[in-house]
């Protein structure tokens, strides 16, 4: 087995293992920290695929932003409520959803035409991504940023009440 394959399986195991921790953990804080393992594993897989920019951005946005915000929210709530907080709700519907999604994903994976190639030295992808964003895909990019802005303003409106008097 080539080294890259071994590394891939190792990373996949880390990712899936921590994902299971997120899903099955009963302590919401442990789930949040397990999420870090998932994010790191995904970032590492990106790097393994030669998409180092994407990998670092994954680290930057998910670990540095989303995970920290999640932890922040959890920590500001009361401690006693946290110990057993990640309860399982609706096992049966969950199983059905998982079954449907899994079947669908396996079908997609089997139908896809996978290109296999030797991993080369990581090439600089940053410039390409930037060009794509501001060239070919400029419209979706701008629409996405407007949607995000709307979400941001919406969050402020929802969470902050107007100061009375």
């Amino acid at each position: 087995m080539p080294v890259t394959t071994a590394v891939f399986y190792l990373l996949a195991a880390v990712t899936l293992g921590s994902a299971c921790g997120v899903a099955f953990g009963t302590n919401i804080l442990y789930s949040a920290f397990a999420l870090m393992g998932t994010f790191l594993g995904v970032a590492a897989i990106f790097v393994l695929l030669g998409a180092d920019f994407l990998g670092v951005i994954q680290l930057f946005v998910y670990v540095g932003g989303i995970l920290v915000l999640t932890l922040f929210a959890v920590m500001l709530t009361h401690r006693i409520d946290v110990q057993v907080s990640n309860r399982a709700v609706g096992r049966l519907p969950g199983l059905v959803v998982v079954g449907v999604v899994a079947t669908w994903m396996i079908r997609v994976a089997r139908a896809a035409r996978w290109t296999e190639g030797q991993p080369g030295p990581p090439a600089a992808t940053t410039a390409g991504i930037g060009d794509a964003f501001l060239g070919t895909y400029v419209l979706p990019f701008e629409v996405a940023s407007v949607v995000l802005l709307a979400a941001l303003i919406g969050a402020i409106v929802v969470s902050r009440k107007e100061v009375k008097g």
Binding site: F33, F53, I57, L59, F60, G65, V68, P122, A124, T126
Partner: protein, 408 residues
């Protein structure tokens, strides 16, 4: 790194038949190990000694001077002491997270060294997303600090953790916006590429490229201090307010790891500003022809520049009070972020207007900086002279000058 291995392979130092990637991997591991044990740990330790000696002079006292020459081995003694101390885990703490937190912080800090250049070809891995990677792995430190703050099950720790996370996340934005002008100028994210874009002479450095980068440099340094929890932004461990912040409940080795990360981070701050703005390890090519003295010289110049900023950070710490948490946020969002954004846009406009740069502006800015330095030196000359006094002169006693009754 790669070129060094290539030259070693070409010279026959690597056994034939070994695949090239094994040689690369081996070289990276060996160099990484050397960097961790021979550079990072001692540099963090020695910085504590430097900090205490400098603090001593600033506070008109002597500082540690018993262990080794001028107390130089104090950091080792402290380290050994910390390792031997009992590792107390509070019974109400969240034990696994409490034990894990210092290692997460340490990982984030050591991982940053992967892309920190040392001089010439010496760098563990010259990633082509170098500086982005460096800002991304700092996130691990935040997670570790939050973990520590939460797991300690202490309200002061929690407050410290929350302050720290809010602070680091906020100050990442002005820091990132101040890195962008340099990235635009150099056209690359790679640390070596950014250094390669500058020259040895001050007027070729990015900091003097245009007025916007000049300000971006200071914003980056201030934001980096905030991200490293240094005075005047040491709110997360503000002793007089939060006892010791997120590290309150830690003792022994775990406490040491937090502080090693903090002091080691100072060097990372210095190395980053040196790489991005101050010409990195560039030396006049004519100075050394042979690779070995050249690399040594490059290492020395880089280290000197980076450590100067460590010294400035220490200096600031023992000079300035601490700002309040709301003032810290106001400073970030109302001042640094808009200014950094103006710098970013300004640099872009500058690059469009003057694609080749304006040498006159570069020289002018370098002269301004030199002038500022001289003016500053004139202001502090009294204090510097006082810092250089001998022990006898320092321990001047107005009571004994009355020369009436010697106190022995």
């Amino acid at each position: 790194m790669q070129e060094l291995v290539d030259s070693l392979v070409a010279d026959g130092f690597v056994p034939g038949g070994l695949p090239l990637w094994v040689a690369y991997l081996g070289a990276m591991l060996v160099f990484g190990g050397i960097v961790v044990f021979v550079f990072i740990l001692p540099i963090a330790g020695i910085t504590t000694w430097v900090e205490r000696r400098v603090a001593g002079r600033i506070q008109s006292r002597i500082g540690p001077n018993r262990t080794g020459p001028a107390g130089f081995l104090q950091w080792l003694a402290d380290g050994i002491k910390s390792v031997l101390k009992e590792d107390i885990v509070p019974s109400a703490a969240d034990v696994p997270l409490f034990k894990l937190a210092p290692y997460v912080v340490m990982t984030g800090f050591v991982a940053a060294f992967v892309v920190v250049p040392f001089g010439g070809p010496l760098i563990i891995a010259d990633l082509n997303v170098g500086i982005l990677y460096l800002t991304a792995v700092t996130a691990l430190v935040v997670v570790g600090i939050l973990m520590a703050g939460w797991a300690s099950n202490n309200k002061w720790s929690l407050l410290g953790g929350i302050r720290s996370a809010a602070q680091i996340v906020s100050y990442e934005i002005p820091a990132g916006l101040s890195i962008l002008p340099v990235v635009m100028l150099a056209g690359t994210l790679s640390m070596q590429g950014i250094i390669g874009h500058q020259g040895w002479a001050p007027w070729t450095w990015h900091v003097f490229d245009n007025p916007f980068t000049f300000f971006a440099f200071f914003i980056l340094f201030v934001s980096a201090l905030a991200e490293g929890n240094r005075t005047p932004f040491d709110l997360p461990e503000a002793e007089s307010e939060l006892v010791m912040g997120f590290a309150t409940e830690y003792s022994g080795l775990r406490n040491l790891l937090f502080f090693m990360a903090e002091w080691g981070n100072l060097y990372v701050i210095g190395a980053v500003v040196t790489t991005l703005f101050l010409g990195g390890w560039q030396i006049p090519l004519a100075l050394a022809d042979h690779p070995v003295p050249r690399i040594v010289l490059q290492f020395a110049i880089f280290f000197a520049k980076a450590y100067f900023w460590v010294f400035v950070a220490v200096w600031l710490r023992w000079t300035l009070p601490r700002i309040r948490v709301d003032q810290m946020m106001i400073m970030c969002w109302k001042y640094l972020v808009p200014i950094a954004f103006v710098n970013f846009m300004g640099t872009a406009v500058w690059m469009v207007l003057f694609p080749a740069g304006v040498p006159a502006v570069r020289v002018l800015l370098s002269l301004t900086a030199a002038g500022l330095l001289v003016a500053f030196a004139r202001r502090v000359v009294f204090h510097v002279r006082r810092a250089l006094l001998t022990r006898e002169e320092l321990s001047f006693n107005p009571l004994s000058t009355a020369r009436v009754m010697s106190r022995g």
